[in-house]
Symmetry: C2
Subunit: 190 residues, 2 copies
């Protein structure tokens, strides 16, 4: 998506450790009209796929998921990264390693909000090693839901996550795929 | 807001420990059209107040904040509950005690995204003891921003947070205020 690539080139910063900082518009400060545009693009790509629910994980995927949900007219369900007092009843869980935070955690999804009747679209802001998405996929599978695909704002194509998922036959739509990046250069896969 | 009170009565569950579970529409599963309605109501109440930015804290306030931001046409900035590798540069912090999780944490807000030029609206899904809001207020004050007010979906009026803030002269708009609740009863302040 041209507008997203331009925004990354204009506002993104490459930090040590293969971190792309896009906090000015995507995941610390949220550029509201721009995020709506990203959501609209995701909705357009999946409008014929019978999506009943968007599934994401807290917290930086929530705004993009909500934006896509506005145009698809479906609810969003998000997995939490720790169990809290207001999650009751049966839960689905998945172990996830966070590349950004450098730790392991358990993702928790209340089982009440996803079922075998659902056809889910997984949404997240970033796809790098694919750990978070694989966790979401395993929880969706455990609930018996059908997975229509994964929609991502920015995929780091030089890490293996996206291509591994595609090799498994899972549809992955990334609005921008970074082929390589360094302190002074950034190229996209097209 | 009548529609929110009805939704709480229809779908809410009171759990032990004064926990109101509204995960079916507000903070685990997000009812997208309904959340847009809540956001529109917040935007209507603050449309003449010159808001430049909405400030919230991850993660259950993000969707409501984004919905209000759609109608106010402003960005959302959210504080994180732990420092992560993609937060760089100067940050603002505030110690917060979580009533829901029963622990203490440090909220972290990148200082790049809030300044003395901002007139901020604080948004969250719940207001109980007010710890999270007070943390956001102290970070907004530290950035030199003006605080227009706080917009909340559900305030637990029987806890002291909202009334304490009002007593300090801070504007608090809660779309529903629960006066009392128990396993079999729930009354609203009107």
């Amino acid at each position: 998506m041209e507008a997203l690539e331009q925004k990354i080139l204009t506002e993104g910063q490459v930090l040590p450790g293969n971190i792309l900082k896009v906090g000015s518009f995507l995941n610390q400060q949220i550029d509201t009209p721009f995020t709506l545009e990203l959501g609209k693009e995701i909705a357009n790509r999946y409008k014929a796929d019978g999506i009943t629910k968007i599934l994401t994980i807290e917290s930086s995927g929530i705004a993009l998921s909500f934006a896509a949900a506005v145009y698809l007219g479906v609810p969003v369900v998000f997995a939490k990264k720790s169990e809290s007092a207001n999650v009751s009843g049966r839960v689905l869980t998945a172990p996830i390693h966070s590349y950004t935070h450098g730790n392991d955690y358990t993702a928790v999804l209340p089982a009440d909000y996803i079922s075998s009747k659902d056809r889910v679209l997984l949404v997240d802001d970033f796809l790098a090693t694919g750990e978070a998405l694989c966790g979401l996929i395993s929880m969706a599978n455990a609930a018996g839901a059908t997975i229509a695909g994964c929609a991502i704002a920015i995929e780091k194509g030089f890490q293996k996550g996206g291509d591994d998922l595609r090799a498994k036959g899972i549809r992955v739509d990334s609005l921008a795929i970074i082929e390589s990046m360094g302190p002074d250069s950034l190229t996209f896969r097209r």
